[in-house]
């Protein structure tokens, strides 16, 4: 375990959802720390709260209690626009169902991440560099010849590679992957995982991987198991 401060940390994080008059606890005081360059697998049965924790750590949602810290600073209570900015700068998401914009080509989907950070004029000024960076990333993930294909024209594995490239374009410190191979056959899944881990190692990213797959979890530096909203191991 690294002695440097964690890039991402959860301290006593709770999350409740209201269903009618009922208050349903999903997370009940989760503590978790992820350091730079560390690969952490989050294992647990369906309903254990893995994805909810991932969303809270990725600032897509606010915890009902506890704190989320980036580089030691609490960020869970920031205004919504500030959380969006931080999410863009610090976090890259990879989802099970890829979540690409169907109207955009692979290149445009990746470029979207750059467009979030700049104004119209700012982007116009650096559009060539942005395209070059996006192309380089897509080539790195093996899609150099699929730049102008829309998601519907790509296979599942290719789509996930586009999603990985998009997650990496803004050079985040943390990548949060929610069952990234859950929708892929085993051969394709292995290729995608190999790609993710090689990039993670190359860039020294903190990597949190939500999965059901014990084999995949075994390839990570650390495995965190969850059950009924608490970390059990």
């Amino acid at each position: 375990m690294s002695t440097s401060p964690p890039v991402l940390a959860a301290e006593g994080v709770e999350k409740h959802f209201r269903l009618g008059r009922r208050d349903i606890p999903v997370l009940r005081g989760v503590d978790l720390q992820i350091h730079a360059g560390e690969k952490v697998a989050l294992l647990g049965a369906s309903g254990a709260g893995k994805s909810t924790l991932l969303h809270l750590l990725g600032l897509l949602d606010k915890p009902s209690g506890g704190r989320v810290l980036y580089d030691g600073a609490p960020v869970h209570d920031l205004p919504v626009a500030e959380r969006a900015r931080l999410r863009h700068q610090q976090v890259g998401f990879v989802f099970q169902f890829y979540h690409l914009i169907p109207e955009l080509t692979a290149l445009q989907n990746v470029l979207l991440a750059r467009m979030m950070a700049t104004s119209v004029l700012g982007y116009w000024g650096q559009r060539k560099q942005a395209r070059a960076a996006a192309k380089a990333l897509l080539e790195q993930v093996g899609l150099g010849d699929r730049l102008h294909h829309r998601p519907a024209e790509l296979s599942g594995g290719e789509r996930q590679r586009v999603a990985i490239a998009r997650a990496l374009l803004a050079e985040p410190k943390v990548v949060l992957a929610d069952e990234p191979t859950g929708n892929l056959d085993s051969t394709t899944a292995k290729g995608v995982v190999d790609l993710m881990f090689s990039i993670q190692q190359e860039r020294g990213l903190a990597f949190l991987l939500v999965t059901h797959d014990e084999g995949l979890a075994g390839r990570c530096d650390r495995v965190v198991r969850m059950r009924d909203g608490v970390v059990v191991a």
């Binding site: 969303h55 990725g58 897509l60 989802f95 979540h99 109207e103 104004s119 119209v120």
Partner: protein
């Protein structure tokens, strides 16, 4: 503004064909607003100009029946803002062609157009307006009326000449609207009436009568100088028991020409112009009685040029107040109307029609705005997952909302541009389009004859074009705020899991 908002808005705009429907809606609404309002504005502007020509700038009315003109004139013309005045006497009568049977054959021969006759049943009733032809041209463009009447008739295939009665150098003859001696002499001979054998021995005696040009429907066979009998009825005296005694009188007039004031419906169709002195005599006033000879029912007033609306309003009040003491105790208040008040019923009807049309067009605009709202709402619903993706990648809520706002704005701007271009082209070439449709399809966009117009009037003000285009874009933005706000406030976690 984050760069992704316009980028994605443009993508959605180009790829989603439903946006074409919104664009078409906006374009149609803008086109309709420009064309219909352009035509109406031109039409109302023409109508107002015509009505303005048909009425004196100011009219003193509401006078008791025994009011003399001379004392009114002195009082009115004493005001520094009054240039001149002219007496008017209103009555009613029946107009009947003399010796029409003798002229019947000619009537058949001269029938040129039946276009004017489709809905008319003329019983000869006429609103008589007694004017002083020596003073009236100073308060209304009477010479212009005499040119306009024949001009209107030429559009229907008739070829009358403008009446020369105002050109007569003899003021006595001009005051009676008398046609030249030769014209009356020949008319008498045509009608078989007794007259001198030689023209040199003949002097015209009939006063002239000027008919509004729509009366050609009943008198299409009339030639200048032809005799017309005018019958009037009045109750000028009472009997021993104090009851009013009906007195009728009639006398022949020479047809002196057609006039067209510009106000067909409210004036030309109903009114005939006769010399005021002749009308007074017909009504039983003794021409030698100085008290009765200058009776008037109204006085037309020409104010100084260049007076503001406020100055005109003040003048109206001032003149009415100055005249009231002359009318005797117990007289009802007299009033001074400006030209718009004199035609208030007609002008109000036209303006109401325009307002109603603008309301209808505004509803069209609202419908197009609703189409934009529905399209944007549908797009937000269909793009819930995209909204979640954008949020996950780092889009701010404002940036997400702006995607849909910009999309709506682009739809409205393109639609407004198309509508403006189409509207401008249609209004510029409206008459050519109407001619083409009439000739090739038998359809007429605008019944010109109904409104006595040579061409469809159209006035498209640049300020109106800008107003409509900006309003269309503003309205689109306004209605798009609701779906855009919904998109911006969407929970990204729920959006990502939306199926």
């Amino acid at each position: 503004m984050q760069a992704f908002s316009p980028f994605l808005a443009l993508r959605y705009l180009l790829i989603r064909r439903i946006n074409l429907l919104s664009m078409f809606g906006v374009a149609f609404a803008v086109w309709a607003m420009l064309v219909v309002d352009g035509v109406f504005t031109g039409f109302v502007s023409d109508i107002k100009a015509n009505v303005r020509d048909s009425a004196p700038a100011l009219l003193l009315t509401g006078l008791p029946h025994d009011t003399g003109y001379e004392q009114l004139r002195e009082t009115l013309e004493r005001d520094q803002d009054v240039v001149t005045t002219a007496p008017r006497l209103r009555h009613h009568g029946l107009l009947q062609a003399t010796m029409r049977s003798a002229l019947g054959a000619r009537g058949q021969r001269l029938q040129v157009s039946s276009e004017l006759e489709f809905d008319h049943s003329d019983n000869g009733f006429a609103l008589l307006l007694g004017i002083d032809p020596l003073r009236e041209p100073d308060v209304v463009p009477l010479a212009g009326w005499l040119r306009r009447g024949p001009a209107e008739l030429r559009r229907y295939g008739y070829q009358p000449e403008p009446s020369p009665v105002l050109d007569d150098p003899d003021p006595t003859r001009r005051a009676l609207l008398q046609v030249p001696d030769e014209v009356e002499w020949r008319a008498r001979r045509r009608a078989g009436l007794p007259t001198e054998r030689e023209l040199a021995d003949f002097r015209a005696v009939w006063p002239g009568v000027l008919l509004g040009w729509p009366r050609i429907r009943s008198f299409r066979w009339l030639q200048e100088g032809d005799p017309l009998d005018l019958l009037v009825a009045a109750f000028p005296t009472t009997d021993a028991a104090g009851d009013a005694v009906l007195r009728t009188d009639s006398r022949p007039f020479a047809f002196a020409g057609w006039f067209g004031s510009g106000n067909r419906r409210m004036f030309d169709e109903t009114t005939v112009l006769v010399p005021i002195e002749t009308l007074r005599t017909l009504l039983g006033h003794d021409i030698h009685d100085l008290e009765s000879i200058d009776l008037v029912t109204d006085v037309a007033i020409r104010p100084r040029d260049g007076l503001s609306d406020a100055a005109i309003a003040a003048l109206q009040t001032r003149l009415a107040a100055a005249v009231q003491p002359l009318l005797g105790d117990g007289a009802l208040p007299c009033v001074v109307y400006d030209w718009q008040q004199q035609n208030s019923v007609f002008l109000s009807a036209v303006e109401l029609e325009q307002s109603m049309m603008e309301i209808v067009l505004f509803v069209v605009m609202l419908v197009s705005a609703f189409v934009i709202y529905a399209t944007m709402h549908m797009m937000v619903v269909q793009k819930v997952k995209d909204i979640g993706i954008l949020a996950a990648v780092g889009a701010s809520p404002g940036g997400i909302g702006r995607v849909f706002l910009l999309c709506a704005l682009a739809v409205a701007m393109i639609g407004a541009a198309l509508g403006t271009a189409a509207g401008w082209l249609c209004t510029t070439y409206l008459n050519e389009i109407d001619d083409f449709m009439r000739e090739h399809l038998g359809a007429e966009l605008f019944p010109r004859n109904l409104f006595d117009l040579d061409r469809i009037p159209c006035h498209l003000a640049p300020s109106w074009i800008v107003t409509v285009a900006v309003a269309a874009c503003g309205l689109a933005l306004l209605v798009a705020l609701v779906p855009a706000r919904r998109a911006a406030r969407m929970n990204p976690v729920l959006a990502l899991s939306y199926e």
